[in-house]
């Protein structure tokens, strides 16, 4: 143990494979200026560094490790950031309350009924210290930000606040320090210290509300992060031990007990259980898992104990990727935001111009006392015009909208996708895997010469050796029927056509009509439903029966299609299957025959989408993220469903976790609600400025003798920001159904 009081840092290092890696990192670290001792542990993958904080910091240490050719896993940083955020928020509130309190107290003194028993000169001197503290300590952030922008002519809302408050403070300071000069100019002793302090206080209060709202909107991501389990029960050399989850490496064996969360993504290698995956997929029923099945980190083990092998850890897990994507989307700009940015760009210089013009006009045309009235009006213009509300209009709505989507298993890539989704006029649904489950099931067992159970049992026994989806469907069906399957003594798969096997000494041939025909079997069976695929079974050279299989439609498909139509959308079906199959599924989902595109090769799907687009449709394509990737890319909006989140995230604008097709209408509903909120926000923010700037400049003064004062303007401005943020937060109540 160290005897010094130097700080020690333990960092998770990635990419080490051998003892030479350890030596190398230690050598680099020990050479670095400021590092006292460094030890690297290969087993725990951590570097422990003792360092002199005056010479090197965490970043420097991380950079040294990176220079050696390795990386440091980002972990544990999030909670620090969250604490910082909380501290920042608290200090904003304290400063806001202090500044507003000081301003309010000054205003009470100034407006005391019948006047205070002291001269104004004396009161001004008393005000000087608190007003200076508010202006330069609490209001420092505005001054610094404004000064920073000035050299680049970057005029922003900080410029407006800084100019307004400095003008009020500066004039008041002059009155306080040179009362004689002011008196000889024929002006009163009134100062604006109270207004300046109150403005700073109110705007800080607005910032605090804004920060709080952002924190709440980011709650969706926080909730996702909290799903991540902290520890994993690792099995190494037969020893089971609980270790922090960030130490799990690929190929580690992990035990997951009932009630535990699955620590990382992986494959179940021993045991079986049912997992509650609702947090990631929205699927409410526990999903049965057995050997070889994929298990996803953060899902809950509800029943049995099992062992899994880690496949994806750290930033690679599905959960981490989802979090990263949601964060990215929340910070992204929707194209509509560019309009707001452009407006803000010319808005600030224009306001500064209007303020100067106001000052000039009051000086030339206004009633006495000219200077205070001119100054007060110009300051009011600067304060009321602060475009905070405009700046908040889009990002807050995007943040809440995408966060809300994530809660319902709808991952939106970015603001642009959200904006695009509300423009969609036509939705094209892929058949296999989207409208249907994408898994074959046995529909009918039609015996010819033997009874149904025997036919199914023999067929399943013969097919058990095959991995073909048809074989799997037959075996699954037989097992579900509780049939005992005899062992096949010989087995031969005939690629693309069927299987030949010996079961209980009898020769079983299963496959296409053509296969049986070529093998000399008389295939004279009654015709089956054209939407199903018939599989022929021969026993000792004679037709024993026909089993039909088909992909089955998702139970919620018809409802999803109806909801899309209710939203005024044109719904199409696209499929590579035969027309009969496509029409059958289309009819069940409620899609008309004139809206079905069948026998479309995968490569042609994007061309079909382009055709629809050429006819003026804004097309959303719904399909899986792999086979339909080109079509998803061609469409104005690509929605991926039924694929692993990791794959689909890449290919689509919107990814639907889980398999519920109703998330498609839900996502379009959500995008419409979000965009409606953005438009309301922009309308309100812009309208507010258009109406109140002339009032602030004194446009109503000649008629109604109505003039706003700077403090009232600050209150109005804060209120406008708050109303925009609250309007965005209303989206949290959005119910997709």
């Amino acid at each position: 143990m160290s005897t010094t009081n130097q700080p020690e840092l333990s960092l998770p290092v990635t990419g080490m494979t051998c003892a030479s890696c350890v030596n190398r990192i230690e050598r680099f670290l020990n050479k670095a200026d400021g590092v006292t001792t460094a030890t690297v542990n290969l087993a725990t993958e951590r570097a422990t560094v003792q360092f002199d904080p005056t010479k090197i910091d965490r970043t420097g240490i991380v950079q040294t490790i990176q220079a050696a050719g390795y990386d440091v896993r980002a972990d544990a940083g999030t909670s620090e950031a969250a604490t910082e955020h909380d501290d920042e928020q608290r200090s904003l509130l304290v400063q806001a309350l202090a500044a507003a309190g000081i301003g309010l107290a000054m205003m009470v003194v100034m407006l005391w009924p019948g006047g205070v028993p002291w001269s104004m000169e004396r009161v001004n001197v008393w005000f000087l210290v608190p007003a200076t503290i508010v202006q330069f300590i609490f209001g420092r952030r505005f001054l610094v930000a404004a000064a920073r922008g000035l050299p680049h002519l970057d005029l922003n809302m900080n410029t407006l606040v800084a100019m307004g408050t400095l003008a009020a403070y500066g004039y008041s300071l002059f009155v306080t320090l040179f009362p004689e000069a002011v008196r000889s100019a024929g002006l009163g002793m009134e100062t604006y210290f109270d207004s300046a302090a109150l403005i700073v206080g109110l705007i800080l209060f607005g910032r605090w509300l804004e920060a709080r709202a952002k924190g709440q909107a980011a709650g969706a991501v926080k909730a996702l992060l909290e799903l991540q389990p902290r520890t994993a029960r690792m099995i190494r050399n037969g020893v089971e031990m609980d270790l922090p989850v960030d130490q799990v490496r690929v190929d580690d064996l992990l035990r997951v007990r009932p009630g535990d969360k699955v620590p990382v993504d992986g494959i179940l290698t021993d045991g079986a259980s049912a997992l509650d995956e609702s947090m990631l997929t929205g699927e409410s029923l526990p999903v049965e898992k057995s050997m070889g099945d994929r298990v996803i980190g953060a899902t809950l083990n509800t029943s049995g104990s099992f062992v899994m092998r880690a496949e994806k850890v750290g930033a690679e897990t599905a959960l981490s990727q989802i979090v990263a994507m949601v964060e990215q989307a929340q910070g992204s700009k929707a194209p509509i935001q560019r309009v707001a940015d452009r407006v803000t760009g010319w808005f600030v210089p224009a306001v500064v111009g209007v303020a100067l013009l106001t000052f000039a006009l009051w000086m030339l045309l206004g009633p006495e006392p000219r200077l205070p009235l001119a100054l007060s009006s110009a300051i009011t213009v600067l304060i009321i015009a602060c475009p905070c509300a405009m700046g908040l209009a889009t990002p807050t709505a995007i943040m809440v909208g995408t966060g809300k989507g994530a809660e319902h298993g709808i991952l939106v890539r970015n603001g642009a996708a959200l904006e695009q989704a509300q423009r969609v006029t036509t939705v094209v649904l892929d058949k296999t895997g989207t409208l249907t489950r994408g898994v074959l099931s046995v529909i009918n067992v039609i015996p010819e010469s033997i009874d149904e159970r025997e036919l199914l049992s023999l067929a399943a026994a013969a097919e058990r050796g095959s991995e073909h989806p048809i074989a799997e469907a037959i075996v699954r069906h037989a097992e579900a029927a509780g049939l005992a399957l005899p062992d096949a003594s010989t087995f031969e798969a005939i690629a693309g056509r069927g299987v030949r096997a010996t079961v209980d000494g009898r020769k079983v041939l299963i496959g296409t009509e053509k296969l049986l025909d070529e093998s000399g079997v008389d295939v004279d069976a009654p015709p089956t439903d054209p939407a199903h695929s018939p599989i022929f079974v021969a026993l000792d050279g004679r037709l024993a029966g026909v089993i039909t299989v088909a992909d089955t439609i998702r139970p919620e498909a018809a409802e999803a299609v109806r909801r899309l139509r209710d939203r005024g959308l044109d719904v199409w079906l696209i499929s590579g299957d035969r027309a009969a199959t496509a029409h059958e599924i289309g009819a069940r989902a409620g899609i008309g025959a004139d809206r079905i595109l069948a026998e479309v090769l995968p490569g042609q799907k994007s061309a079909k989408i382009a055709e629809l687009q050429a006819n003026g449709a804004v097309v959303a394509m719904v399909g899986d993220g792999i086979n339909d990737a080109p079509a998803l890319a061609q469409a104005d909006l690509g929605i991926a469903i039924g694929t692993g989140a990791d794959v689909a995230l890449e290919a689509s604008d919107i990814t639907i976790l889980g398999e519920d097709l109703r998330s498609v209408p839900n996502s379009i509903g959500l995008s419409r609600a979000t965009m409606r909120t953005i438009r309301q926000n922009l309308g309100w923010a812009f309208g507010y400025n258009v109406v109140l700037i002339p009032v602030a400049a004194g446009a109503l003064f000649p008629i109604f003798a109505l003039l706003l004062n700077p403090a009232l303007a600050a209150a109005a401005m804060a209120l406008s920001s708050v109303s925009v943020v609250s309007n965005s937060l209303r989206l949290r109540a959005f119910n997709p159904a």
Binding site: T17, C18, S20, C21, N23, A68
Partner: protein, 66 residues
């Protein structure tokens, strides 16, 4: 190739001196071409050490060690 040949067919990690199965090293990407010759490494650390200064390990006074 006989089994014996296979056993004999190993390379030496120039940095640490360990015996390396070239096929395994190739599969892991732990190889480097230098002056027309392939070199094989036990792990990433040795590969990076070699890449930093390949001449060093060929000096007569270089003693392979971890």
């Amino acid at each position: 190739m006989t089994d014996l040949d296979q056993l004999m067919d190993h390379e030496t990690d120039p940095v640490c001196g360990m015996a390396i199965n070239p096929d395994a090293a190739r599969a892991e990407g732990l190889t480097a071409e230098y002056q027309g010759r392939s070199h094989f490494f036990c792990g990433r650390g040795c590969l990076l050490e070699f890449a930093d200064d390949p001449e060093r390990v060929f000096k007569p006074d270089h003693v392979p060690h971890m």
